[in-house]
Symmetry: C2
Subunit: 456 residues, 2 copies
């Protein structure tokens, strides 16, 4: 049984609506409830108790429920529990009534046999649309597109196109772009509803449509699709196959979700934590963070056992130990900067080999320059502080080397990850800094050991 998940902001209004449900006043409930924006309807729904929701299923048609679920499919964690409360046929009808892309998002959270059951209970066409989308790989244009678009042929007037639009309007996800196709459904043009409205009713579509259609390939990654939306400032983009056949459209509201997801995933990667963790329960939060922490702990143990090799050196010149964290910390900071820039560039670029090589070289050069400035600074400061310019020279030079290596690692590792097909964000900030601890220590003590006689 699912407890209420959200607090509806307008407590009073919620109470009023609950009352009409308890009074079993269907007419009044429908009038009240349906006057809300779909998002608010959803917030009310999510704030109800299970038995209240069940009453709702009797009071609202499956189609009305579809409209509401359309807008919350992204946010609801346990879609399955809600669907199981409904009669199976009602649930199937609700899914069929949703735009296919959103129905697919919901179905992907269910077990296979449930999906098959609902598809069987659905009208044939809806099931066919959904099956087609379920086949596209995750995070591609195909997976987020919907087949509910408006298409017309070029050889007709604005008036007749407007008539077609009116008849298709109730089912299309957007009616603000109209796609022009030939008999084989090959995309040949596009026009906006604005064009239909401002042009004379007797003009031919062929004359007013734009023939340079910006489109996306069905296998294109969703992040690239998002970039196109941003560049072209459009509300929808058509999705085509390799023969230019129109398969569906992607609408801007789905793209906002994509941009959001990508941002959260980059951010989470950099921090080595899922920042979307919903639970405020510290045990749950800790259990999600610990795998990373423990993995890094063992990598950190590598650094410790490396230092352990130089314990004799430290025993002889304990001053060396004073500056270990300074060198590891600073190179870790530089590596994190490098990583963030590289991850961002991987996301933006078309992943051309040449560009990536240039990114790595430029990061190493940036590291060298930053290292030089930082190294000289610390050399002077420590030289003055400890009156020991051999020690300060060792530290300065170690700093230079460690920062250069950290920048190399910070850019190379995410690029390699990406090339190997992993998410570059797996090479998170904590990973880079722990890794650069290791290399910094190696560099520092190896330089220092040559000067041990002068240091003691």
């Amino acid at each position: 049984m699912l407890e209420p998940q959200y607090e509806f902001e307008l407590e009073e209004e919620l109470e009023k609506i609950k009352l009409t449900l308890h009074e079993e006043d269907m007419e009044k409930f429908r009038e009240e409830f349906l006057s809300y924006h779909l998002y608010d309807q959803a917030q009310i729904y999510l704030a109800l108790m299970p038995e209240e929701r069940i009453t709702m299923y009797y009071y609202l048609s499956a189609r009305e429920m579809s409209d509401m679920f359309e807008i919350i499919e992204e946010d609801v964690e346990s879609v399955e529990a809600y669907l199981l409360e409904m009669n199976d046929q009602y649930a199937a009808d609700m899914l069929a009534g949703m735009y296919a892309d959103n129905a697919v998002d919901m179905l992907k959270q269910l077990k296979d046999d449930r999906v098959r059951l609902y598809l069987r209970l659905m009208p044939l066409q809806a099931a066919k649309d959904i099956r087609a989308l379920l086949n596209y790989a995750d995070e591609t244009a195909g997976a987020i597109m919907t087949p509910e678009y408006v298409s017309i042929v070029a050889n007709q007037t604005v008036r007749s196109a407007m008539a077609i639009l009116k008849s298709k309007a109730p089912d299309a996800e957007t009616i603000y772009y109209i796609y022009v196709v030939d008999v084989n459904n090959v995309l040949v043009g596009v026009l906006s509803l604005r064009d239909l409205i401002v042009n004379d009713e007797d003009r031919m579509i062929a004359d007013i449509m734009s023939e340079r259609v910006v489109s996306v390939d069905v296998n294109e990654n969703q992040e690239e699709v998002a970039h196109k939306f941003r560049d072209y400032d459009v509300l929808a983009l058509p999705v085509i196959d390799e023969n230019n056949v129109l398969l569906g459209i992607i609408t801007v509201d789905d793209i906002i979700d994509v941009i959001d997801e990508e941002a959260v995933s980059d951010f989470s990667g950099l921090a080595g934590v899922d920042v979307e963790e919903q639970s405020e329960n510290p045990f749950v939060a800790a259990s999600k963070r610990l795998p990373w922490l423990i993995t890094l702990l063992f990598l950190g143990m590598g650094t410790s056992s490396l230092i352990s090799q130089y314990e004799g050196l430290i025993a002889d010149a304990s001053i060396l130990s004073v500056f270990v964290t300074l060198i590891t910390g600073t190179s870790g900071n530089a590596g994190t900067q490098s990583l963030a820039v590289a991850v961002r560039k991987i996301g933006l670029s078309d992943n051309e080999e040449k560009n990536l090589l240039r990114t790595i070289l430029s990061e190493v050069a940036t590291g060298f320059i930053s290292g030089l400035v930082t190294g000289v600074t610390i050399m002077v400061v420590i030289g003055v502080w400890k009156h020991n310019f051999i020690l300060s020279g060792i530290i300065g030079f170690s700093m230079l080397s460690a920062i250069t290596v950290a920048n190399l690692a910070g850019s190379l590792i995410p690029i390699l990850m990406d090339k190997l097909g992993f998410d570059p964000a797996v090479a998170s900030g904590p990973f880079i800094s722990t890794f650069s601890d290791l290399t910094s220590v190696l560099i520092y003590f190896n330089i220092a050991k040559h000067f041990i006689t002068v240091l003691i």
Copy 2:
């Protein structure tokens, strides 16, 4: 003189267009150029040499130039140089022809006297619209809204509303939502163009409009506005003042820019680097990163001078130095996780005191639990490795304390920053890890010094 900023992807097509410019074939140029999507027009423009651009200003009307600049204002770094190439009146007309919100974005990059000059040369109404927007604080709804919306009164039919829409369509930024106002311009309803199209022409607007209008306050932060767009899946939202008077609208394309900016700024903050740095010149990149690195270097010197206090302790028990980086590294990792979660929560929440206190407490508890697990793990591992359970106990307990403190700092510092009116992202990942180096070292050596007799 501005060199070409972009490589236009279709090299051949670019050459063709350049040729028509060199041949001074205005008709052919216009036909070719204007057939492109505005974004591609902009890419061509940005790929031209200065003298080619100047020819363009003669071939295209200021209004045609407005349409093109509409779509690139966000991306162009040196707006000023382009405007200075134009005749001042042409530039002013171009700015006046843009949607006011985009014109404002461009004007904000110019010197005050330039802004005044252009405003003086503009048609009065355009200058008035722009002046009004220039007064709103940055990053508020007011600063990103545009006054170019379509509004009607309720007491009319769909047919007459459609006629009004047609007349206003050429100037409105979106015609897909129509706002219903009373005589005082108070917002009383909203309907979509879809509603106009599917309803009978004789129906009254008052009967089909929705009276529960989702709107944003003119002083609302742009990030909150973005959340509303995401929740309600709308293409535009009306902006109102405290008396519900309609002031303007915000469209979804501006919101995509906002979401993008916020994501980049969070990401940059976490890494302590501006990830948008465009230059591939390592000297420029290094000069931008060094201020942070050097600041952190001096904070790191604090840690070094702290360790320096315990040099005697290390000289006596050099084994202690082996585990310093392990403790500082692990607590830094935990602190970074905590920071990322807190920064994200600050962005999402309504900043209620209660929630924030709960976030801090929950982070400290998460830190304690993670610290306990990590501490016990490392205690066992080091105990077995070094056959010294006193040492391993010290390290385990230090780890527990250091991680708990790092989680406290990771959540408390950004929340304090936010409360004090700073961007919470200033408390970046590198800052937190450098800060937690300091506290970890303090904890570690203070615990260790009590056991020094057993360790030697």
